[in-house]
Protein backbone atom coordinates (compact mmCIF):
# COMPACT_ATOMS: atom_id res chain seq x y z
CA UNK A 1 0.00 0.00 0.00
CA UNK A 2 2.85 2.37 0.80
CA UNK A 3 4.20 5.34 -1.09
CA UNK A 4 6.72 7.99 0.07
CA UNK A 5 6.44 9.62 3.46
CA UNK A 6 5.29 12.90 1.93
CA UNK A 7 2.02 11.64 0.46
CA UNK A 8 -0.67 9.02 0.88
CA UNK A 9 -1.50 6.18 -1.48
CA UNK A 10 -5.09 5.37 -2.42
CA UNK A 11 -5.11 2.32 -0.13
CA UNK A 12 -3.90 4.57 2.70
CA UNK A 13 -6.76 6.99 2.05
CA UNK A 14 -9.13 4.04 2.25
CA UNK A 15 -7.54 2.69 5.44
CA UNK A 16 -7.41 5.98 7.33
CA UNK A 17 -10.39 7.76 5.78
CA UNK A 18 -12.71 7.38 8.77
CA UNK A 19 -10.21 9.03 11.08
CA UNK A 20 -9.03 11.66 8.59
CA UNK A 21 -12.54 13.12 8.37
CA UNK A 22 -12.54 13.85 12.11
CA UNK A 23 -11.79 17.53 12.23
CA UNK A 24 -9.33 17.33 15.14
CA UNK A 25 -6.98 15.09 13.13
CA UNK A 26 -6.26 17.74 10.52
CA UNK A 27 -7.08 15.49 7.57
CA UNK A 28 -4.29 14.68 5.12
CA UNK A 29 -1.73 16.86 6.87
CA UNK A 30 -2.41 15.10 10.15
CA UNK A 31 -2.19 11.69 8.52
CA UNK A 32 1.20 12.60 7.08
CA UNK A 33 2.35 13.65 10.55
CA UNK A 34 1.31 10.25 11.86
CA UNK A 35 3.03 8.54 8.94
CA UNK A 36 6.35 10.25 9.59
CA UNK A 37 6.16 9.84 13.38
CA UNK A 38 8.59 7.53 15.18
CA UNK A 39 7.28 6.28 18.52
CA UNK A 40 9.17 4.07 20.95
CA UNK A 41 7.14 1.93 23.34
CA UNK A 42 9.04 0.59 26.34
CA UNK A 43 7.12 -2.43 27.62
CA UNK A 44 4.63 -4.65 25.79
CA UNK A 45 2.69 -5.62 28.91
CA UNK A 46 -0.56 -4.41 30.43
CA UNK A 47 -0.20 -0.86 29.08
CA UNK A 48 1.65 -1.56 25.84
CA UNK A 49 -0.76 -4.35 24.81
CA UNK A 50 -3.81 -2.17 24.25
CA UNK A 51 -1.84 0.90 23.20
CA UNK A 52 0.24 -0.59 20.39
CA UNK A 53 -2.60 -1.73 18.08
CA UNK A 54 -4.17 1.73 18.15
CA UNK A 55 -0.87 3.40 17.26
CA UNK A 56 -0.37 0.97 14.39
CA UNK A 57 -4.02 1.21 13.34
CA UNK A 58 -3.83 5.01 13.25
CA UNK A 59 -0.84 4.82 10.90
CA UNK A 60 2.11 5.82 13.11
CA UNK A 61 4.92 5.20 10.61
CA UNK A 62 7.58 3.68 12.85
CA UNK A 63 6.98 1.90 16.13
CA UNK A 64 9.80 0.57 18.28
CA UNK A 65 9.08 -1.97 21.03
CA UNK A 66 11.51 -2.62 23.90
CA UNK A 67 10.81 -5.70 26.01
CA UNK A 68 12.93 -8.68 26.99
CA UNK A 69 10.16 -10.54 28.78
CA UNK A 70 8.45 -13.60 27.41
CA UNK A 71 4.72 -14.25 27.41
CA UNK A 72 3.32 -16.12 30.41
CA UNK A 73 -0.19 -17.49 30.92
CA UNK A 74 -0.61 -15.27 33.99
CA UNK A 75 -0.15 -12.18 31.79
CA UNK A 76 -2.99 -12.92 29.40
CA UNK A 77 -5.91 -11.57 31.42
CA UNK A 78 -4.52 -8.08 30.78
CA UNK A 79 -1.83 -8.37 28.09
CA UNK A 80 -4.38 -9.19 25.43
CA UNK A 81 -2.15 -8.52 22.42
CA UNK A 82 -0.49 -11.84 23.17
CA UNK A 83 -2.19 -15.24 23.30
CA UNK A 84 -1.93 -18.71 24.79
CA UNK A 85 -0.11 -20.04 21.74
CA UNK A 86 2.66 -17.50 22.30
CA UNK A 87 3.58 -18.50 25.84
CA UNK A 88 7.38 -18.46 26.03
CA UNK A 89 7.75 -16.12 23.02
CA UNK A 90 9.36 -12.70 23.42
CA UNK A 91 6.64 -10.12 24.02
CA UNK A 92 8.18 -7.66 21.58
CA UNK A 93 8.14 -10.29 18.82
CA UNK A 94 4.62 -11.38 19.67
CA UNK A 95 3.48 -7.76 19.44
CA UNK A 96 5.36 -7.21 16.21
CA UNK A 97 3.53 -10.13 14.62
CA UNK A 98 0.14 -8.67 15.60
CA UNK A 99 0.97 -5.15 14.40
CA UNK A 100 2.37 -6.42 11.12
CA UNK A 101 -0.90 -8.19 10.36
CA UNK A 102 -3.03 -5.27 11.50
CA UNK A 103 -1.25 -2.67 9.38
CA UNK A 104 1.56 -3.76 7.06
CA UNK A 105 2.35 -0.08 6.31
CA UNK A 106 3.86 0.36 9.76
CA UNK A 107 7.55 -0.31 10.30
CA UNK A 108 7.98 -2.18 13.58
CA UNK A 109 11.41 -2.41 15.20
CA UNK A 110 11.94 -4.70 18.19
CA UNK A 111 14.52 -4.49 20.98
CA UNK A 112 14.51 -7.76 22.96
CA UNK A 113 16.67 -6.31 25.71
CA UNK A 114 16.19 -5.06 29.24
CA UNK A 115 16.44 -1.29 29.08
CA UNK A 116 19.39 -0.08 31.15
CA UNK A 117 21.78 2.83 31.47
CA UNK A 118 24.17 1.37 28.93
CA UNK A 119 21.75 0.74 26.05
CA UNK A 120 19.01 3.36 26.48
CA UNK A 121 20.59 6.17 24.42
CA UNK A 122 21.34 3.86 21.50
CA UNK A 123 17.74 2.63 21.49
CA UNK A 124 16.02 6.00 22.01
CA UNK A 125 17.95 7.95 19.39
CA UNK A 126 15.95 8.58 16.24
CA UNK A 127 12.54 8.41 17.91
CA UNK A 128 10.30 11.45 18.48
CA UNK A 129 8.25 10.25 21.43
CA UNK A 130 8.76 7.54 24.03
CA UNK A 131 5.94 5.74 25.85
CA UNK A 132 6.83 4.52 29.31
CA UNK A 133 4.82 1.32 29.80
CA UNK A 134 7.29 -0.21 32.24
CA UNK A 135 6.69 -1.50 35.72
CA UNK A 136 9.55 -0.43 37.98
CA UNK A 137 10.66 2.95 39.34
CA UNK A 138 14.16 2.24 38.07
CA UNK A 139 13.07 2.26 34.45
CA UNK A 140 10.74 5.22 34.97
CA UNK A 141 13.60 7.40 36.13
CA UNK A 142 15.86 6.06 33.38
CA UNK A 143 13.31 6.59 30.59
CA UNK A 144 12.70 10.14 31.75
CA UNK A 145 16.38 11.00 32.18
CA UNK A 146 17.35 9.72 28.74
CA UNK A 147 14.36 11.39 27.09
CA UNK A 148 15.26 14.73 28.71
CA UNK A 149 18.80 14.43 27.40
CA UNK A 150 17.51 13.73 23.90
CA UNK A 151 14.75 16.37 24.05
CA UNK A 152 12.01 13.76 23.60
CA UNK A 153 8.46 14.00 24.93
CA UNK A 154 7.46 11.10 27.22
CA UNK A 155 3.98 9.65 27.68
CA UNK A 156 4.29 7.95 31.04
CA UNK A 157 1.65 5.74 32.61
CA UNK A 158 1.19 3.07 35.22
CA UNK A 159 -1.59 1.01 36.68
CA UNK A 160 -2.36 -1.28 39.55
CA UNK A 161 -5.50 -2.82 40.96
CA UNK A 162 -8.36 -0.79 39.58
CA UNK A 163 -6.42 2.46 39.17
CA UNK A 164 -4.01 4.08 36.76
CA UNK A 165 -1.99 7.25 36.30
CA UNK A 166 -0.89 9.06 33.16
CA UNK A 167 1.29 12.07 32.49
CA UNK A 168 3.01 13.76 29.57
CA UNK A 169 6.59 14.53 30.60
CA UNK A 170 9.31 16.77 29.16
CA UNK A 171 6.73 18.06 26.67
CA UNK A 172 8.63 19.62 23.76
CA UNK A 173 11.64 19.77 26.06
CA UNK A 174 10.03 22.39 28.30
CA UNK A 175 7.50 20.52 30.42
CA UNK A 176 8.36 18.92 33.77
CA UNK A 177 10.15 15.58 33.84
CA UNK A 178 9.64 12.54 36.07
CA UNK A 179 12.22 13.86 38.54
CA UNK A 180 10.42 17.21 38.74
CA UNK A 181 7.41 15.30 40.09
CA UNK A 182 9.43 12.78 42.11
CA UNK A 183 12.80 14.30 43.04
CA UNK A 184 13.43 11.66 45.70
CA UNK A 185 12.92 7.99 44.91
CA UNK A 186 10.47 6.16 47.17
CA UNK A 187 12.07 3.98 49.84
CA UNK A 188 11.62 0.31 48.97
CA UNK A 189 10.56 -0.53 52.50
CA UNK A 190 7.64 1.88 52.54
CA UNK A 191 5.53 -0.08 50.12
CA UNK A 192 5.71 -3.48 51.73
CA UNK A 193 2.31 -3.51 53.35
CA UNK A 194 0.33 -3.67 50.15
CA UNK A 195 2.55 -5.92 48.08
CA UNK A 196 1.06 -8.27 45.53
CA UNK A 197 -1.76 -5.94 44.59
CA UNK A 198 -2.79 -7.53 41.34
CA UNK A 199 -4.60 -5.74 38.53
CA UNK A 200 -7.90 -5.81 36.68
CA UNK A 201 -7.16 -6.24 32.96
CA UNK A 202 -9.50 -3.66 31.40
CA UNK A 203 -8.64 -1.08 34.10
CA UNK A 204 -4.99 -0.98 33.10
CA UNK A 205 -6.22 -1.47 29.53
CA UNK A 206 -8.07 1.84 29.56
CA UNK A 207 -4.92 3.61 30.72
CA UNK A 208 -2.97 1.99 27.88
CA UNK A 209 -5.50 3.18 25.30
CA UNK A 210 -5.45 6.64 26.92
CA UNK A 211 -1.70 6.66 26.20
CA UNK A 212 -2.47 6.11 22.51
CA UNK A 213 -4.88 9.08 22.55
CA UNK A 214 -2.24 11.32 24.16
CA UNK A 215 0.42 10.16 21.71
CA UNK A 216 -1.79 10.90 18.72
CA UNK A 217 -2.56 14.35 20.13
CA UNK A 218 1.15 15.07 20.56
CA UNK A 219 1.88 13.96 16.99
CA UNK A 220 -1.01 15.96 15.55
CA UNK A 221 0.06 19.11 17.37
CA UNK A 222 -3.09 19.37 19.49
CA UNK A 223 -0.79 20.26 22.37
CA UNK A 224 1.48 23.25 21.76
CA UNK A 225 4.10 25.01 23.87
CA UNK A 226 1.49 27.74 24.35
CA UNK A 227 -1.47 25.62 25.48
CA UNK A 228 0.25 22.71 27.24
CA UNK A 229 -0.30 22.66 31.00
CA UNK A 230 1.45 19.97 33.08
CA UNK A 231 -1.00 17.39 34.39
CA UNK A 232 -1.37 14.03 36.05
CA UNK A 233 -4.45 12.05 35.10
CA UNK A 234 -5.79 9.49 37.50
CA UNK A 235 -8.19 6.80 36.31
CA UNK A 236 -10.24 4.77 38.77
CA UNK A 237 -12.35 1.83 37.66
CA UNK A 238 -14.23 0.97 40.86
CA UNK A 239 -16.81 1.65 42.13
CA UNK A 240 -17.54 4.20 39.36
CA UNK A 241 -15.23 4.87 36.43
CA UNK A 242 -13.64 8.30 36.71
CA UNK A 243 -10.77 10.27 35.25
CA UNK A 244 -9.44 13.09 37.35
CA UNK A 245 -6.96 15.56 35.99
CA UNK A 246 -4.63 17.14 38.49
CA UNK A 247 -2.88 20.38 37.61
CA UNK A 248 0.82 19.83 38.23
CA UNK A 249 3.98 21.85 38.81
CA UNK A 250 5.98 22.97 35.81
CA UNK A 251 9.63 22.21 35.19
CA UNK A 252 11.61 22.69 38.40
CA UNK A 253 14.72 24.88 38.09
CA UNK A 254 16.51 22.81 40.73
CA UNK A 255 15.72 19.48 39.00
CA UNK A 256 18.91 17.48 38.60
CA UNK A 257 17.70 16.09 35.26
CA UNK A 258 16.06 19.03 33.47
CA UNK A 259 16.91 22.05 35.66
CA UNK A 260 19.38 24.85 35.20
CA UNK A 261 22.31 22.98 36.76
CA UNK A 262 21.84 19.44 35.56
CA UNK A 263 23.99 16.63 36.79
CA UNK A 264 22.18 13.88 34.93
CA UNK A 265 23.70 13.88 31.49
CA UNK A 266 24.42 11.33 28.81
CA UNK A 267 27.91 11.01 30.27
CA UNK A 268 26.88 10.47 33.90
CA UNK A 269 24.16 8.03 32.88
CA UNK A 270 26.26 5.93 30.51
CA UNK A 271 29.25 5.85 32.82
CA UNK A 272 27.09 4.43 35.59
CA UNK A 273 27.56 7.42 37.90
CA UNK A 274 23.79 7.84 38.19
CA UNK A 275 22.91 4.95 40.41
CA UNK A 276 19.59 3.57 39.21
CA UNK A 277 20.04 0.48 41.35
CA UNK A 278 19.13 2.50 44.42
CA UNK A 279 15.51 1.81 43.45
CA UNK A 280 16.16 -1.88 43.13
CA UNK A 281 15.27 -3.01 46.61
CA UNK A 282 14.20 -6.54 47.23
CA UNK A 283 10.62 -5.34 47.52
CA UNK A 284 8.06 -5.83 44.84
CA UNK A 285 7.38 -2.33 43.58
CA UNK A 286 4.26 -3.12 41.54
CA UNK A 287 2.24 -2.04 44.43
CA UNK A 288 1.37 1.42 45.67
Amino acid sequence: EGVGADRLSLPEYERYGRQMIVESTGGVQGQLLLKSAKVLVVGAGGLGSPCLPYLAGAGVGTIGIVDNDTVEVSNLHRQVIHDSGKVGMLKCESAREVLGKLNPNVKVVTYPVRLDYSNAFRIFEGYDIVLDCTDTPLTRYLVSDVAVNLGMTVVSASGLGTEGQLSVLNFQDCGPCYRCFYPTPPPPTSVASCSEGGVIGPCIGIVGVMMAVETIKIILGVYTKENFKPFLMMYSGFPGQTIRTFKMRGRQPQCIACGTERTITKETIESGIVNYNVFCGSRNYNVC
Binding site: Y182, P183, G197, K247, V287, C288
Partner: protein
Amino acid sequence: MANVTVEFLGGLDVVVQKQRVHKLHLPAEVVSVGDLIEYIASTLIKNPRDVAVFLEDGGVRPGIITLINDTDWELEGQTEYVLEDNDVVSFTSTLHGG
Protein backbone atom coordinates in the same frame (compact mmCIF):
# COMPACT_ATOMS: atom_id res chain seq x y z
CA MET B 1 -13.00 24.46 62.44
CA ALA B 2 -12.71 23.83 58.72
CA ASN B 3 -14.65 20.99 57.09
CA VAL B 4 -12.32 19.34 54.63
CA THR B 5 -12.36 16.21 52.54
CA VAL B 6 -9.24 14.08 52.58
CA GLU B 7 -8.64 11.38 49.96
CA PHE B 8 -6.15 8.52 49.92
CA LEU B 9 -5.63 7.31 46.35
CA GLY B 10 -3.37 4.94 44.46
CA GLY B 11 -3.55 2.26 47.12
CA LEU B 12 -2.69 4.64 49.96
CA ASP B 13 -6.05 3.88 51.58
CA VAL B 14 -4.35 0.86 53.16
CA VAL B 15 -3.13 3.15 55.95
CA VAL B 16 -6.62 4.41 56.78
CA GLN B 17 -8.72 1.24 57.05
CA LYS B 18 -9.22 1.06 53.24
CA GLN B 19 -11.47 4.09 53.31
CA ARG B 20 -10.55 6.30 50.36
CA VAL B 21 -12.53 9.40 51.28
CA HIS B 22 -12.69 10.95 54.75
CA LYS B 23 -14.84 13.95 55.52
CA LEU B 24 -13.26 15.68 58.47
CA HIS B 25 -14.42 18.36 60.82
CA LEU B 26 -11.05 19.66 61.92
CA PRO B 27 -10.26 20.99 65.41
CA ALA B 28 -9.35 24.68 65.60
CA GLU B 29 -5.63 24.08 65.94
CA VAL B 30 -5.45 22.40 62.51
CA VAL B 31 -4.91 25.44 60.30
CA SER B 32 -2.49 24.52 57.54
CA VAL B 33 -1.92 21.49 55.36
CA GLY B 34 1.15 20.84 57.48
CA ASP B 35 -1.10 20.65 60.56
CA LEU B 36 -3.47 18.39 58.65
CA ILE B 37 -0.67 15.94 57.85
CA GLU B 38 0.24 15.71 61.54
CA TYR B 39 -3.42 15.29 62.39
CA ILE B 40 -3.77 12.44 59.91
CA ALA B 41 -0.68 10.70 61.28
CA SER B 42 -1.86 11.01 64.87
CA THR B 43 -5.59 10.48 64.47
CA LEU B 44 -6.63 8.88 61.18
CA ILE B 45 -3.88 6.28 60.92
CA LYS B 46 -4.72 3.67 63.55
CA ASN B 47 -1.77 1.35 63.14
CA PRO B 48 1.49 3.10 64.16
CA ARG B 49 3.47 0.97 61.67
CA ASP B 50 1.45 2.51 58.82
CA VAL B 51 2.72 6.00 59.65
CA ALA B 52 5.98 5.15 57.87
CA VAL B 53 4.03 4.45 54.68
CA PHE B 54 2.66 7.98 54.82
CA LEU B 55 5.46 10.00 56.42
CA GLU B 56 9.22 10.08 56.20
CA ASP B 57 11.33 12.46 58.30
CA GLY B 58 8.16 14.31 59.29
CA GLY B 59 7.16 15.07 55.70
CA VAL B 60 4.99 13.24 53.21
CA ARG B 61 6.92 10.22 51.98
CA PRO B 62 8.67 10.47 48.61
CA GLY B 63 6.51 8.91 45.92
CA ILE B 64 3.32 10.39 47.34
CA ILE B 65 1.83 13.35 45.48
CA THR B 66 -0.20 15.82 47.52
CA LEU B 67 -2.99 17.78 45.88
CA ILE B 68 -5.06 20.66 47.14
CA ASN B 69 -8.33 20.95 45.25
CA ASP B 70 -6.91 18.86 42.40
CA THR B 71 -3.80 21.04 42.16
CA ASP B 72 -0.26 20.00 42.99
CA TRP B 73 0.52 21.42 46.43
CA GLU B 74 3.82 22.75 45.07
CA LEU B 75 1.70 25.42 43.37
CA GLU B 76 -0.28 26.17 46.52
CA GLY B 77 2.40 26.72 49.16
CA GLN B 78 2.87 23.09 50.27
CA THR B 79 2.57 22.68 54.06
CA GLU B 80 1.99 26.44 54.51
CA TYR B 81 -1.32 26.39 52.65
CA VAL B 82 -4.11 27.59 54.96
CA LEU B 83 -7.13 25.31 54.78
CA GLU B 84 -10.52 26.71 53.86
CA ASP B 85 -13.95 25.22 54.29
CA ASN B 86 -14.76 22.57 51.68
CA ASP B 87 -11.17 22.13 50.56
CA VAL B 88 -10.27 18.73 49.17
CA VAL B 89 -6.81 17.45 50.04
CA SER B 90 -5.73 14.33 48.17
CA PHE B 91 -2.75 12.07 48.70
CA THR B 92 -1.90 9.62 45.98
CA SER B 93 0.78 7.01 45.87
CA THR B 94 2.64 6.73 42.63
CA LEU B 95 1.73 3.56 40.83
CA HIS B 96 4.50 1.59 39.16
CA GLY B 97 2.72 -1.37 37.57
CA GLY B 98 2.63 -1.55 33.81
